[in-house]
Amino acid sequence: MSHPEKKPPPFFRIRDLRQTLGGHPVLRGVSFDVTGGETTVILGGSGAGKSVLLKHLNGLMRPLSGSVAVNGTDISMLPERALTPIRRQIGVLFQDGALFDSLSVGENIAFPLREAGERVESRIRDRVDEVLELVGLKGQHRKMPDTLSGGMRKRVSLARAIAGRPDCMLYDEPTAGLDPILSESITKLIGEMKKELRLTSVVVTHNLGAMRFLADQVIFLKNGEVHYCGPPAGLDASDDPAIREFISADAMGRT
């Protein structure tokens, strides 16, 4: 007798997620799945709730109601310390890098390795050099964060996030505040990470170009509600006025 093949759970399963900030609703019943190995882009204007949604995926914020499951484990009610093994599977690129000011570039990148228990200095050094080369900053490990440009900070932050070999990456506005050339290079870098490291990725952005380059699935958020969830091609065909307005504003911004 043959058993039906059991489908693995999606990497993230979000159901009816609600959140408020300062008494105002920010997420109003958000639900979607992120399949392992794919890139999901969360798109929307400023204040749509994108970054707040991202912070729920690794438990940095706890839902007011609803659930967030990572590989089938509901993390919404897990105590802080029980989240540690789950968080170590998930790397995060913060909007402004969030590099530790008091540590050099090399020490920043070595930080998650040391915290995960790696004690052999030669192995730490090798991994730091390896990820710095991957993000195009070979030999920059002695620099301090305050001497880096915006683009370099993002690259170092990316190197730190992937140093621990996570299964998944969360990117919070990876191209925000960068000029178009740097934006493109960071977007390409994220694409390379996806291809070379086969990472599950969730990218928060309002950049349609980055979305088209990276996305396997797009979530369009407005006022904390999902207006679209599907493949990137379907977004252009959508009749939703919020999406039409967003796309036409982006086109106007480029002309």
Partner: protein, 270 residues
């Protein structure tokens, strides 16, 4: 539940309720710190660097504070006692005051101004620039990494700093009373040694340690709840110093009453 408490603490509740919520948050942070200290994996390198920052960095401040407070207190005590022919009583009075009250309170106020502000500003800046979130995202509890090393460092440093304040206060007092006012050194020292006991010194050290605990708890809490960018960091820094100073002065009364029962001073016999 936590969000409701934060909202009420922020604006929605009456002052008494806000105070209760604030004290509840401090108690919770205190319990988390105790829980964290009980676990393996204390970052001793960070503890050492904080001891250098708090202990060694505060040397000049506590020496000047102790010496000038001791000297000015000795001068005022001598002026009054000398009218009664009791100039040599200056020593015991200064030593008891320095050991039991002035030493620990002034050293703690100096450390609150210097280190409390620095802790709140540093942790607050890390909070608003998402560095605290980055720690959590890497599976590192901010309490373990940011708070526990500071707590251990201040618990080691404060008794030493208070001890120094007392010693320099008494040395300055002796210098002034003996060299300037002409009280014989033997009288001064005999009186001082007769009326100053181990319980007096212990009281100062215990108080200093308690004040250190309050400073680090209040300042780290302010840092961890900072929001609203640079304005928020400024507010957290000010609050850390003001709340720590008030906590030192208020708790000093209760500690004095308690420690006077547990560690009574030698009976004065002038």
């Amino acid at each position: 539940m936590r969000k409701t408490a934060e909202y009420l603490a922020g604006r929605g509740a009456a002052p008494a309720m806000r105070l209760l919520i604030y004290l509840g948050q401090l108690a919770r942070l205190g319990l988390e710190i105790i829980g964290s200290i009980g676990k393996p994996g204390i970052r001793w390198r960070l503890v050492l660097s904080q001891i250098i920052l708090i202990g060694i960095g505060s040397q000049l401040v506590v020496i000047i504070t102790g010496a000038f407070t001791g000297a000015v207190f000795a001068a005022q005590a001598y002026f009054k006692f000398n009218e009664l022919g009791l100039g040599s009583a200056t020593g015991p009075v200064v030593s008891i005051a320095m050991c039991r009250e002035l030493g620990p309170v002034l050293a703690a106020l100096m450390v609150a101004g210097r280190m409390g502000a620095s802790m709140a500003a540093e942790i607050g800046t890390m909070r608003v620039t998402e560095q605290v979130d980055a720690l959590r995202a890497m599976g590192v509890p901010p309490i373990d990494y940011l708070v526990v090393p500071r707590v251990l460092a201040i618990l080691v440093s404060m008794p030493i700093l208070v001890g120094e304040t007392i010693v320099f206060g008494m040395l300055a007092s002796e210098l002034l009373t003996v060299q300037l006012f002409g009280v014989p050194a033997v009288w001064y020292e005999t009186q001082l040694m007769t009326h100053t006991g181990v319980p007096d010194v212990l009281t100062g050290l215990v108080k200093g340690t308690c004040f250190g605990g309050l400073i680090v708890l209040i300042s780290c809490h302010q840092g961890l709840v900072t929001s609203e960018g640079a304005v928020g960091v400024g507010r957290a820094t000010t609050r850390a110093v003001v709340y720590s100073s008030l906590a030192i002065l208020v708790s000093n009364l209760f500690l004095s009453l308690l420690l006077n029962l547990l560690l009574p001073t030698v009976t004065m016999d002038l």
